[in-house]
């Protein structure tokens, strides 16, 4: 593959420096946040030495732990549900002739990407307030259903992209060899599609974990997730234990994402 070239056709002037500046700009604030979460002094103005105190403080805080549990429960359930729904929808909308209504289906699936989150949040607030008044139910169910809905397009996009890159010859071959539709799906389509499904699940999980606005509007009292808890804390002041919490969440993301990347690399 590697061939020596004096003139690199792919080079466009200024691309390299701009890109490197962008990468530096993306990471400098995050790194600063992580570094200062270990700062013994409570402000970025001074460095008073290394400490884990802010992490210990966050770990021993029941409100933080409760919010973390809520975040993980909602994100896990919503990611599984939305990935399942999105996989079915992707199978229904790719690799077949266009049919009446397909545009409406695309619009519906992509709706959460198009409608501003604040509008969906307000809309759900109205619905949830009415259901709460009628039934009295105030569990995590509202959050799971709402998160599932807005995670669907994030799960759908990579799955659909993957499906579109797969032609039907292997399935046709399977059918020629007397595989039932289920067998051909299970042993031919699904293994090829798996990386797309995993990618979809990842996007859905992080989208749910990331959500502030919709959760903030429809959560019941005491139902904070990590982001809404942190936003609530910020109303007072920027405290280093929020830094520690941010850095911890960042670490979790890094571990998960590295794992997924290594996994998908080994497969391909």
């Amino acid at each position: 593959m590697a061939k020596p070239r004096a003139f690199h056709v792919a080079d466009l002037p200024g691309v390299g420096p701009t890109a490197l500046f962008v990468f530096a700009g993306l990471y400098a604030p995050i790194l600063t946040l992580v570094i200062y979460s270990f700062n013994a002094a409570p402000s970025v103005a001074t460095w008073d030495g290394f400490t884990f105190d802010w992490y210990v403080k966050a770990w021993n805080n029941d409100a933080v732990m409760n919010a973390a549990a809520n975040s993980l429960i909602v994100a896990t359930l919503a990611a599984i549900l939305s990935t399942g729904l999105a996989t079915l929808a992707a199978l229904g909308t790719t690799r077949r002739p266009a049919f009446f209504g397909i545009t409406a289906i695309y619009a519906a699936i992509n709706q959460p990407l198009m409608v501003p989150e604040i509008v969906t949040a307000v809309a759900l607030l109205i619905v949830v307030a009415a259901i709460k008044a009628a039934t009295g139910y105030a569990g995590l169910g509202y959050l799971v259903v709402a998160h599932t809905a807005f995670c669907i397009p994030f799960a759908y996009l990579p799955i659909r992209a993957r499906l579109e890159g797969m032609d039907l010859t292997l399935e046709t071959a399977a059918a020629d060899l007397y595989a039932s539709p289920w067998q051909s799906f299970r042993f031919v389509t699904l293994p090829q599609l798996a990386p797309g499904i995993l990618a979809g699940w990842m996007l859905a999980f992080v989208t749910s974990l990331d959500d502030v606005v919709i959760t903030e509007f429809i959560k019941s009292p005491g139902q904070d997730t990590l982001p809404t808890y942190m936003l609530g804390q910020l109303r007072r002041a920027m405290t280093p234990d929020i830094n520690a919490l941010s850095a911890a969440l960042l670490g979790l993301t890094l571990v998960l994402l590295s794992g997924f990347f290594l996994l998908s690399r080994r497969k391909s």
């Binding site: 200024g14 962008v22 077949r96 289906i105 699936i109 982001p227």
Partner: protein
């Protein structure tokens, strides 16, 4: 088309709907259906303690653009509201443009690395994308606020004698929004450039195209789907941004999202909040329509 072919086709279509329906049901219940309620609520009367009273009223819509003077009961333009509208639209447009100019070279850079290095660079973009929006806003806030890192460094170096006021300005909102939404521009751009065939560039250069011509006539047209997708992905969340202006604008520089929240919270005027939500929705839909037309026009011409 023979009868057998028609029957086969009908069956395929039925199967397609069966696969899609579960997702549609959830979307209807928790994303699309509730929007209809927002429209209805915008025509109701605000309740004394929030929520609504079920009697028809146009007050919510009227308050979007005009205010009733508390002294002489006269009507005049609600300048505060219009300022918020204008700020939201203009800041979102500028953020989208800035994100493109920063994002395109980045996506091109990644797409033109040797195949075995691309995953690494992409990972560097994906990681902030995965990182909570709130955390990224905190991070940028820690850099630019008065007691932040940038001011601390500049003070130490003696470049400035008093901290620069960067937070609570529109510039801060721009920096913050470009910072948090940039990965949403880079990822679709990269997706459209990834399968770019470099032989097309060689062909263009062989035909004596200049670098500029190569960029405008070869690269950008191929990247068009990514540009459109990236711009939508950046513009839409900007317009409805809530977290970033709340933290970096400090409650003073409200954008539409904060204004809507205010009406559903302390403002206790759900119909006004609902009406503004509908306005926001209409602006976003209009923007999307422009994009769709741009793509379709391109297809017809090309």
């Amino acid at each position: 088309m023979s009868a057998a072919e028609q029957a086969q086709r009908a069956k395929t279509t039925r199967n397609a709907w069966l696969l899609v329906i579960p997702a549609l049901v959830v979307l209807m219940a928790a994303a699309i259906g509730p929007l209809v309620l927002v429209l209805i609520y915008s025509f109701l009367t605000p309740g004394d303690y929030g929520n609504v009273v079920w009697s028809f009223s146009l007050d919510g819509w009227q308050k979007v653009v005009v205010e009733r003077d508390i002294f002489d009961d006269s009507l005049h333009l609600a300048e505060a509201h219009l300022t918020i509208f204008w700020r939201s639209v203009s800041l979102s447009l500028v953020t989208t443009i800035l994100s493109f100019f920063a994002g395109f070279p980045t996506a091109w850079f990644i797409a033109t690395r040797p195949a075995n290095q691309r995953a690494f660079w992409l990972f560097l973009i994906t990681l902030p994308f995965w990182t909570n929006l709130l955390i990224r806003t905190f991070a940028i806030n820690q850099i630019i606020r008065n007691e932040g890192l940038l001011n601390t460094i500049l003070l130490h170096l003696g470049v400035i004698s008093a901290p620069l006021q960067m937070t609570y300005t529109e510039g801060a909102l721009l920096i913050g929004m470009v910072y948090v939404y940039l990965p949403l521009m880079v990822l679709p751009l990269y997706a459209s450039l990834e399968r770019f065939d470099l032989r097309l560039l060689e062909a263009a250069y062989d035909l004596y195209a200049s670098r500029w011509q190569v960029l405008m006539r070869v690269v950008l047209p191929i990247a068009r789907p990514g540009i459109v997708a990236g711009s939508i992905l950046v513009f839409v969340p900007c317009l409805g941004a809530y977290v970033t202006p709340r933290i970096l604008g400090g409650g003073k520089l409200m954008m539409l999202g904060n204004f809507i929240e205010l009406q559903f919270g302390q403002g206790r005027n759900w119909p006004l909040g609902a009406a503004i939500s509908i306005v926001l929705l209409v602006i976003v839909m209009a923007a999307l329509l422009v994009y769709v037309r741009a793509i379709n026009g391109e297809k017809r011409d090309g």
